[in-house]
Amino acid sequence: MFEAIAFYLFSAVTISMFIITVMSKNALYSMSALAAGMIMISGFFFLLDADFLGVVQIIVYTGAVMALYAFGMMFFDATRDVKENIRAPKLVFLLSGMTALLLVLAFVAPIVSDHIQALYPVVDGVENPQAVGIVLFTKYLVPFEVAAVMLLVAMIAGIILAGKKMDESLTLKIDGDEEFQNKGSK
């Protein structure tokens, strides 16, 4: 009974949070709702006894959405509504709605026709993190490594893009301060 109550509670909260994320014009509302929704999703993992995944969900999305906030802070005045300039709102709504529907159908189809089954059933006596580790390093080793390499590539690209002037410290400018010194002596 408790599980059912918790499930419906979390579902309602999650769905309403994501609706706010999509519908709100205010960047701060959207981001906060996104963060709340992401953290609420971890509730489902806890309900399914997947503690590790639930905690990882919390940790990862706390940091990730926090980074999103940083960008939001830099680009918008978060306390004002964003004015969007959409020419054909109906078309956008229709297209995005159809895409979402297609995605849901694609994921639901195998469940409806009973073609889905757990290939790695839970082994007794193996804890959650270990189970994740076993699956990650046997069946999904290649995708795991590919993802790791992709992240590395992204990181290197980011460093190179951002780090062209990395050696110059903004706070400890002393050698490059001739301009300042000249101004002072004039």
Partner: protein, 331 residues
């Protein structure tokens, strides 16, 4: 134990922990003022009650009866929710911490842990990290320059220390082979020499440093540093909403002190002639005192210095520590 009993026991535990810890958090402010005062050759609060003991009560009355106002241009709902996030996440994090060893009272065995999550330490750290949404949202919603600066610093702080926290705890976890705080505690059951701090001193130091950043304490209290950004994220807050940030902060300090003593300092195992419960309370008290001590002694760092420290010094150290631990474990 039937389900009903379990629910009742849990609710009782929740109420007890909530009451005791929030009282302790209030008392913590008194302790902090006293210890800081003594270290600076002052007396601290003296007038309310004997030795100023009732100061906490007076402050509580003041906070509760103050006008609770919301600035005009702020985003009202988020402004009002933010302090709740701070206090709530601090207490939720505390839920997965085993506070004392098991004990018997009226013939019932009590497990002094509210929710025995088997990935306890990750849960605690994750939820504590969520607590930083409180200053972030507070700063961004209050439409105030200083608030916004405080919020920006929150992001910096979280992104800097969180990696270090995770990596520094990783090495002890590799030794223990479990993420459950109770397992970690039992690993150190054989007395003083078995404490993880002797095997992982570097990890302990890194964890403490990251913990200071996590609880927003002095060497890293960038979020509301008075000398720079008036009061940072809390500039526009008053009354009990402001007080909730403080309850959150002190609860986080207590949680972190518990975590550090559980993971590194032998937890609630018996220590010589000291029974386990007393031992862990002593350790937590010392760590809490250490928080105050450093506040009196050390200057705070700039945000860029914090990032430099976390990413360029602590992160490589933590990684090297993990690699060495792994090599030693493999041999």
């Amino acid at each position: 134990m039937t389900l009903t009993e379990f629910v009742i026991a849990t609710i009782v535990k929740i109420l007890l922990v909530l009451g005791i810890v929030s009282a302790l958090a209030g008392f913590g402010t008194y302790l902090e003022r006293k210890v800081l005062a003594f270290m600076q050759r002052r007396l601290g609060p003296m007038h309310v009650g004997p030795y100023g003991l009732l100061q906490v009560l007076a402050d509580g009355i003041k906070l509760f009866t103050k006008e609770d106002f919301v600035p005009q241009n702020s985003i009202r709902p988020i402004f009002m929710i933010a302090p709740l996030i701070g206090a709530a996440s601090a207490f939720i994090a505390l839920a997965a911490v085993p506070l004392l060893p098991e004990f018997k009272i009226f013939g019932i065995t009590v497990h002094p842990i509210i929710a025995d999550v088997n990935v306890g330490i990750l849960f605690v750290l994750g939820v504590m990290a969520t607590g930083l949404y409180a200053p972030l949202l507070a700063g961004m919603a209050s439409s105030n320059k200083w608030g916004l600066l405080g919020a920006a610093r929150t992001v910096i702080q979280l992104l800097s220390y969180e990696v270090v926290t995770g990596l520094s705890v990783m090495a002890p976890l590799m030794l223990v082979g479990s993420l459950s705080l109770i397992d970690i505690n039992n690993y150190q059951a054989n007395g003083f020499k078995e404490w993880i701090i002797w095997q992982q001193p570097v990890a302990f130091v890194l964890f403490l440093i990251a913990g200071f950043a996590e609880t927003n304490r002095t060497p890293f209290d960038l979020l509301e540093h008075e000398a720079e950004i008036v009061s940072g994220f809390a500039t526009e807050y008053s009354g009990m909403r402001w007080g909730m940030f403080f309850i959150g902060e002190y609860t986080n300090m207590i949680t972190l002190a518990f975590l550090a003593s559980l993971v590194f300092l032998g937890g609630f195992n018996e220590w010589g002639f000291l029974p386990g419960g007393l031992a862990i309370i002593l350790k937590v008290s010392f760590l809490f005192f250490f928080f105050l001590w450093t506040r009196a002694a050390w200057p705070h760092v700039r945000p860029d210095q914090l990032m430099w420290l976390c990413w360029k010094v602590l992160l490589p150290l933590a990684v090297v520590n993990i690699v060495i631990t792994g090599l030693v474990l493999m041999m």
